[in-house]
Symmetry: C2
Amino acid sequence: VIGPEDVREAARRIRGLVHRTPVLASESLNRQVGATAFLKAESFQRTGSFKIRGALAKMSSLQEETLAAGVVAYSSGNHAQAVALSARLSGAPAVILMPEDAPVSKRRATEGYGAEVITFDRYSDDREALGRELAQERGLTLIPPFDDPMVMAGQGTSALELLEEVGRLDVLVCPVGGGGLIAGCATLAKGMNPSIKVFGVEPEAGDDTRRSLELGERVTIPVPRTIADGLQLAAPGRLTFEVNRRLLDGVVTVADEEIVQAMTFLFERVKIVVEPSGAVGVAALLAGRVEVEGHRVGVVLSGGNVDAGRFAQLLSDAPTG
Amino acid sequence: VIGPEDVREAARRIRGLVHRTPVLASESLNRQVGATAFLKAESFQRTGSFKIRGALAKMSSLQEETLAAGVVAYSSGNHAQAVALSARLSGAPAVILMPEDAPVSKRRATEGYGAEVITFDRYSDDREALGRELAQERGLTLIPPFDDPMVMAGQGTSALELLEEVGRLDVLVCPVGGGGLIAGCATLAKGMNPSIKVFGVEPEAGDDTRRSLELGERVTIPVPRTIADGLQLAAPGRLTFEVNRRLLDGVVTVADEEIVQAMTFLFERVKIVVEPSGAVGVAALLAGRVEVEGHRVGVVLSGGNVDAGRFAQLLSDAPTG
């Protein structure tokens, strides 16, 4: 579907428009897991997550008049902000379909970038159908959240930056929602070094990609209820699954409590804010789900969009406090 | 007491042992206060605060046998960890006098660096006297938290790095506890550019330096009760006040609720964890206490040592939630 050169091409097209996010080290984390970990902090990316990489890569591939007619996206939040900002930067109008229970901060930020927000019910409505209808009605171009070669290639630029900065890695760990981030990152990473192991992490309740890989075909599960709101997908994408079933070395899962523990670890030891979906990689390391001992391990922290009040609530709900 | 060259000398002595901390920008903050702000994030410093700069600068000035006999420090927390790590790096034993109500994470971290911790009551005991007694009894050298030329010079290296990185600033804003950080930073900053304005920020309840500057002499207040546990000082230092009364352009105060709002802003918009004492500078900007419009403003975020649970508690206690 895509190759490493597509990721490099995407990197050239979005350069200067997105941040080169920092790679953080944590002595505490290294000590605790017996590895040398490199945290690629997409929480510091523009709009607070990696999503702008893919959205911009996609939009920069559109013809000028197509762009001027406007874009539409459906998203649980971070893709929404990414498309909204990308559209503003491109002078394109944007309509965002957003679940009505999306975190307040994400909706507010999306509207702040000038996008029109239309809400839907994530447990009953078909977001893809809604997006397609709206695109037809208004002549808008759909910017898919993950299932698109340009979008995947854009997301892979995160791994490109990481590997450029730290050199050889033995293992790369990424969150898996629709699978676009890990598809792009795995494509680039395995292209640079075929022996690197790439592991995905899903929330326990939302292990659609893990099940799909096991069965060898895409499995649809009920929309999962998990605190990792960015990973609440019912099924892998068609294109992302094509890539991921060839490239991934495995998908592991973490419980919501383990995600809260990882967020707390990142808060107290690394002094950074990472949203639930973004913390699953560190959760997997801390819980020993991925074999990393003695290895150089890259971990993508995919985003940092979590309200302070919600973080406090997650802490007080967690059994381990 | 000290000059800019002392700060530069301290920088040479501690180089490679402390982190060169990142300088962060925030479009949201700039928009909200109408200035271009540069946040010097000492929260990412080793031990989680700027304090290791001064402690190491001081310890590196001691003779080898003095160091080998051991050091002692009294601290509400961050200086404790700084001295503990500096001592471990120097192979010196360390005893730390710590208030019994100090945050758990600070005490745990201090012990984690191998220091012996002895507690005192911050509202009744005289920490300075206790420190002096212990120093005499055991032949230890006292590492003062702020009132020492070497310590002040070490703290000033934060401003040196900031100015080296961003160039000219119109205004520099620093938290004021004992006054060592701002004394070192003001010495360096005014040495490089006499027209820079340097403002201190204290918690409303702990405005001992503001009052002292107004009166032209050191004023002692009851030990303040404020969430900014690193700024709970009853009086400015003798040496720090000598420096600060010549160099500061003013000290402003912020309420505890304003500090929580600033911590929340830094959490949600900048995606970083800053402790109450470290957030007073941003609190002052957001509350409009310092005239910054149109200016290039440096703000020292002095530390990030706050438990996640305590942060959650502060949020739920705050009237604005």
